[in-house]
């Protein structure tokens, strides 16, 4: 998208600076709107999918009244949330209470920006893409604390404290596992990382298969990522049997919906990061090496990317409706006594592997043996 801005503005070189400014701002706004529209549509579909998956796993039916197969249920829910009464508790800190949902949603939405959806489809190709997503996700924890404090409710405050403790703790295994993967492509740019994983039939050069350490890292990352987005079995910040609804207890209507959508947005982002870093991103398996028109390749790449992301999201839903919730101490034990040491081990192991074998993965070694 930055490339597009450069292209358009340079073709408007004869126009005044004001025109160029306006055109640039319009392009930025339009691209933001496109991403927002896609994200909201995905979030609607995800709520529907979540309820259908839950129904499936618990031998229920799930939504089936609104539209064919209940497909329009999320539209009905959206309308319902929009027209619900907007309650602000009398003793709430109005500024913090009102501000928090916006920051949560903005931060979660901003994490969609550096993702690379196909070779040419991305909003902004950032040099520090992976780090940017980690950083912007950490804003969410601050905003959760803001809403929790602003609600002036003990359940909210407990939930907020738990959320922050959990997110900050699990950031460590997450960043360490990402680091173990990133040292191979030696880049934080999402597109570079995906391009590095090309070849090997579009499957075998994925970083998850590169060496045993990145293989472990993928699982450490995925477990920690589920905790990072506060989903069961790590949902103690909003454990309804203990603290009502945690940090969003006092929120109603659209303000609640912002928190809700942010959670689903975060699910997409962490799955997209896992896909990009470990599962080859938009590399089309098997037929990716064939020559084909650019548009077809782009469509296939976007389809492959979304298929991988949705598969990971499905796994998250599956885990949510299968496993019981962890206790607070179990949660912290898992992070500090298991995931963090394993992540450190992976990082050291992957570094040694890269140094000794000059970045060649298991696939390259096996292929080299077969050829000789």
């Amino acid at each position: 998208m930055i490339g597009l801005i450069g292209h358009v503005t340079s073709s408007l070189a004869h126009a005044g600076p004001l025109v160029r400014l306006l055109v640039t701002v319009v392009i930025m706004l339009v691209s933001a709107m496109v991403v927002l529209a896609v994200a909201l549509l995905y979030e609607g579909a995800a709520t529907y999918a979540e309820r259908k998956v839950a129904g499936d796993i618990q031998a229920r039916i799930g939504p089936n009244r609104v539209g064919p197969y209940g497909l329009l249920q999320f539209v009905a829910d959206g309308v319902k949330l929009l027209i619900k009464e907007d309650i602000i508790p009398f003793y709430a800190d109005r500024w913090l209470f009102i501000g928090a949902p916006y920051i949560v949603f903005t931060a979660s939405f901003a994490a969609f920006v550096p993702l690379s959806y196909s070779e040419h489809v991305s909003v902004a190709d950032l040099n520090v893409g992976v780090l940017y997503v980690v950083a912007i996700s950490s804003v969410v924890s601050m905003a959760i604390l803001m809403g929790a404090w602003g609600s002036n409710n003990k359940w909210s405050l407990f939930g907020g404290m738990r959320a922050v403790a959990q997110i900050i703790s699990y950031e460590i295994p997450i960043v360490l596992s990402l680091l173990a993967a990133v040292i191979l492509p030696a880049s934080l740019d999402m597109k570079d990382i995906i391009v590095y994983q090309s070849g090997g039939l579009g499957i075998f050069r994925w970083l998850v298969f590169n060496n045993p350490f990145t293989f472990l890292s993928f699982f450490v990352y995925f477990i920690a990522a589920i905790a990072e987005v506060n989903r069961t079995p790590f949902d103690i910040p909003e454990a309804e049997s203990e603290i009502v609804a945690g940090y969003h207890t006092e929120y109603t209507g659209m303000r609640f919906a912002f928190f809700f959508m942010a959670e689903y947005g975060d699910m997409f982002v962490v799955s997209a990061i896992a896909t990009t870093l470990f599962l080859g991103g938009w590399q089309v398996p098997i037929i990716g090496g064939l020559s084909m028109p650019v548009w077809l390749r782009e469509v296939l790449e976007v389809a492959v990317f979304f298929a991988k992301v949705f598969l990971l999201i499905y796994v998250m839903m599956w885990i949510r409706w299968t496993l019981p919730r962890l206790r607070v101490d179990q949660l912290m034990d898992l992070c500090w006594k298991y995931l963090t040491p394993i992540a450190f081990f992976n990082l050291v192991g992957a570094s040694v592997w890269v140094l000794l074998l000059h970045g060649r993965g298991v696939y390259d070694l096996v292929a080299g043996l077969l050829i000789h």
């Binding site: 503005t9 400014l21 701002v25 800190d93 780090l131 601050m142 404090w149």
Partner: protein, 184 residues
């Protein structure tokens, strides 16, 4: 983007500059200590935006990660644990007001003159120039000693924190808290 982006660049610079200054003023002027702490978020975010406009993408993102994700949370927790933080009134007595004004003027003068003294390298706007790798190389070559010293300092802080919050272990007794945990 190069030259054509200058207008957009200026627009974003003024946006982030205004955000930084207004929220920094709110930090010191608001009477509610919790709101003060939270408006620091916008100050730190605005500074990160300025870093990114200067082409220092890694520093900008690290600013968000460390200051907003870490230091900011720590400050907010500290404020929340302050006794009676709901009704703490940030009232400035005359003495502190005078002292504050004097120290503000002195600091401003020092900063102003040092800015005027430094021969700034005006390299202009450079987007999309990767900075991560040069920073890493510099940290592990020219600046290895300061880098290692900083990490040793952090290890000291971590060990110290763990030592301070450790539960007392008496010979022949259960760890404090151990029995509670089984009941819970």
């Amino acid at each position: 983007m190069s030259m054509d982006a200058s207008a957009v660049h200026a627009l974003f610079f003024y946006f982030f500059a205004a955000m930084t200054i207004v929220s920094a003023l709110l930090v010191v002027l608001l009477r509610n200590i919790v709101r003060s702490a939270f408006s620091l978020f916008f100050t730190l975010f605005g500074v990160a935006g300025v870093y990114i406009l200067l082409g220092a993408d890694f520093v900008g993102v690290a600013q968000v990660l460390i200051y907003i994700g870490g230091v900011m949370i720590l400050i907010v927790f500290g404020v929340m644990l302050t006794h009676n933080s709901y009704s703490v009134d940030m009232f400035n007595r005359l003495g502190t007001l005078v002292m504050g004004t004097v120290s503000a003027i002195v600091t401003f003068t020092i900063v102003y003159y040092s800015i005027r003294q430094v021969p700034w390298l005006l390299s202009g706007y450079k987007a999309n120039v990767p900075t991560t790798q040069p920073i890493g190389v510099q940290l592990l070559t020219n600046y290895l000693l300061p880098f290692e010293l900083a990490s040793v300092l952090l290890v000291f802080a971590m060990v110290g924190a763990a030592y301070l919050i450790r539960s007392e272990v008496r010979p022949g007794k259960e760890r404090a808290g151990g029995s509670e945990r089984k009941d819970a």
